[in-house]
C-alpha cells in the first residue's frame, strides 16, 4: 500500500513538472542575454577619388543588458569630413569663377573640369540613447533619442517601437514611429531658391537659418520559416517638410542654342557666369518596402535584402544587397558583400536652366537627384577570439554611374563630360567585446 502511495506521488510530481514545463514562457528568437556590458567600436575611412569627399568616422556603441531582457544602448560617433563636392554647375571649356558660400571669397574651376566646391569641411558629432524592455509576456517596447551637431546643421529626434510575438514567437509584428526636428544654419545663410549667385560681399540673396521636420512610420513582420530561415518584411513611410534644399547647390544658366553658360561681369570680384541656387519642394513623402532573408546554410549564413522606394518627387529606386558569411580555420571568417542600386531622376531634375525661358518652380542639378546606378563590392575578414570578441577588417569599393537625360543636353554640352560620377573606397576596422 505504502509502495503504491510512493508511486502516486512520483506520478503526480512528474505530471506537475510536465505541466510547468508546458506552460513555461517560450524562448524568444534571441536567447536571453547574460546581464552585462557589450561594446562595439569601429573606425571607418571613406574616400572618394579625384580629391573629393573624405570622411574619417569613429564610432562607439555600448549596450548594457539587464535581467528580464531589458537593455540600454548608448552610441557616440565623430565624423571628420574634408574635400570637394560638386556644386551642380556644368563644365565649360574656359575657367569659371564662383562666389564661395560664405560670400566672402571666390574659387576658380579649370576649363573642362566638373566644377567642385573645395570649401567643404566639417566635423559631426552624433549621440543616441535607447531603452528596450519586455511589456508583459508577448510585447516588447523601446524608446530612443538622438542628437547630432555639425557646423551648419543640428538634428534632434525621438523614436518609439512596439512589437508583439505570435504563433509560439515565430511571428513578430512591430510598429514604430520617429520624429526629428532639424535646424540648418548654412555658411553665409540659406540662399533664396532660384536666386542668382552674386558678387563677393553682396548677401542680398541669402536669408538666415531654416528648419525641417521629418516624421517616419514603420510597420514590420518577422517570420521564422524553419530552423534555418528567417524572413522580414517592412513597410515604411516618411514625410519631410520645411527647407529641403541643399543650400550649397546651384545650376548653370545656359544659352538655349550653344549650351554654354552665360557670362557675367562681376563688380569687383564674384561669379564669372550666371548660376542660380536650386529650388526643391518644401514637402516630400516617401514609401518603402523592404524584405530581408537570413538563411543558415550548413554553417554559412546568407543575408539577402531588397528595398523598393518611391516618393512624390518622382524618384523610384531599387536596392539589392547580399552578404555571405563563410567561416574557416579556427574561428575566422570571410564575408563578401555585394550591393546594387538604381534610381531614376526627380521630376524637377535639370542639368541646367535655359536663359530667357521662364524660371520653373522647382529645379535641381544635384547628381543625387539624377538618374544613376551604383554598385558596392567588398569583403570582410573577421577573427573571433576564444572569449567571443570579434575583430574584423573590411574593404569595399563603391561606384556610381549616371546619365543626364538626352533631351537636356544642349549644343556644345554634348562634347563635354557632364555627369560628375563617383567612385569611393571604404575601409573599416571593427572590434566587438564583452565587459
Amino acid at each position: 500500500m505504502a509502495n503504491y502511495k510512493t508511486k502516486d506521488v512520483a506520478a503526480a510530481l512528474a505530471a506537475a513538472t510536465c505541466s510547468l514545463l508546458g506552460s513555461a514562457p517560450i524562448a524568444p528568437v534571441l536567447a536571453q542575454e547574460d546581464p552585462g556590458w557589450d561594446f562595439n567600436t569601429a573606425l571607418l575611412y571613406y574616400g572618394e577619388s579625384d580629391s573629393r569627399v573624405e570622411d574619417v568616422s569613429l564610432n562607439f556603441l555600448a549596450r548594457r543588458t539587464f535581467v528580464d531582457d531589458r537593455a540600454l544602448t548608448l552610441s557616440l560617433a565623430v565624423d571628420t569630413l574634408t574635400g570637394a563636392t560638386p556644386g551642380g554647375a556644368l563644365p565649360m571649356n574656359t575657367v569659371q569663377t564662383f562666389t564661395s558660400p560664405s560670400g566672402n571669397a571666390t574659387y576658380d574651376v579649370a576649363g573642362g573640369a566638373v566644377p567642385l566646391d573645395n570649401t567643404f569641411l566639417d566635423t559631426r558629432y552624433a549621440l543616441t540613447a535607447a531603452w528596450q524592455q519586455p511589456l508583459g509576456r508577448l510585447y516588447t517596447g523601446s524608446a530612443g533619442i538622438g542628437f547630432s551637431k555639425e557646423y551648419d546643421y543640428t538634428h534632434a529626434g525621438v523614436n518609439f517601437n512596439l512589437s508583439r510575438d505570435f504563433n509560439k514567437r515565430n511571428t513578430t509584428v512591430s510598429a514604430g514611429i520617429a520624429f526629428s526636428s532639424d535646424e540648418l544654419d548654412p555658411v553665409g545663410g540659406a540662399p533664396i531658391p532660384l536666386s542668382s549667385m552674386l558678387d563677393v560681399g553682396d548677401t542680398s540673396n541669402k536669408r538666415g537659418n531654416d528648419s525641417k521636420d521629418v516624421l517616419d512610420l514603420l510597420l514590420g513582420v518577422t517570420q521564422v520559416i524553419n530552423q534555418n530561415l528567417l524572413l522580414q518584411l517592412n513597410y515604411s513611410y516618411s514625410d519631410a517638410s520645411g527647407y529641403l534644399n541643399d543650400p550649397y547647390k546651384f545650376l548653370s544658366v545656359v544659352d538655349g542654342v550653344t549650351g554654354d553658360t552665360i557670362t557675367r561681369t562681376p563688380v569687383g570680384s564674384g561669379a564669372s557666369h550666371e548660376f542660380r541656387f536650386e529650388s526643391r519642394p518644401e514637402q516630400r513623402t516617401k514609401h518603402s518596402l523592404y524584405a530581408q532573408a537570413k538563411a543558415w546554410l550548413g554553417g554559412r549564413v546568407l543575408d539577402l535584402s531588397y528595398r523598393y522606394m518611391t516618393d512624390d518627387w518622382g524618384i523610384d529606386s531599387h536596392t539589392l544587397e547580399a552578404r555571405f558569411k563563410m567561416p574557416f580555420g579556427e574561428r575566422q571568417y570571410l564575408e563578401p558583400h555585394l550591393r546594387f542600386y538604381t534610381q531614376n531622376e526627380a521630376d524637377f531634375y535639370q542639368s541646367s536652366l535655359v536663359s530667357g525661358q521662364p524660371l520653373p518652380q522647382f529645379a535641381s542639378s544635384d547628381y543625387r537627384l539624377g538618374k544613376f546606378d551604383a554598385v558596392t563590392a567588398g569583403i570582410k575578414y573577421g577573427w573571433e577570439t576564444a572569449s567571443g570578441n570579434d575583430l574584423s577588417f573590411r574593404l569595399e569599393y563603391y561606384q556610381q554611374d549616371g546619365k543626364i537625360p538626352a533631351g537636356q543636353i544642349i549644343g556644345n554640352q554634348a562634347s563635354r563630360e557632364l555627369y560628375p560620377g563617383l567612385s569611393a573606397v571604404i575601409l573599416g576596422v571593427s572590434y566587438r567585446f564583452g565587459g
Binding site: N40, V214, S238
Partner: protein, 71 residues
C-alpha cells in the same frame, strides 16, 4: 479575374503562417548571433549614413536615417 484569384490565393495562404515556424527547442541555429537580422548595428549605421549622403533613398530596414546636413 486574375487579380481576384491572386487575392484569394493570398488570403488562403494566410492561415499557413501559423503552421510555419519551429518549436521552442528547435531554435539553436536561429538564436545564434550571426542569424540575427542586424548582426552589426554600428556597421549598419555607417552604411546607412554613407548611402543616405550619396543617394536619394534611405531607410527600409529601420527609420529613414538622416540627422545630417549631407542631403
Amino acid at each position: 479575374m486574375q487579380r481576384l484569384t491572386l487575392i484569394l490565393a493570398a488570403l488562403l495562404a494566410l492561415p499557413a503562417c501559423s503552421s510555419l515556424g519551429v518549436e521552442p527547442w528547435e531554435r539553436d541555429v536561429l538564436a545564434k548571433e550571426e542569424m540575427q537580422l542586424v548582426t552589426d548595428p554600428v556597421e549598419a549605421g555607417l552604411d546607412d549614413h554613407i548611402y543616405f549622403s550619396k543617394e536619394a533613398s534611405s531607410g527600409g530596414r529601420g527609420f529613414g536615417g538622416g540627422g545630417c546636413g549631407c542631403n
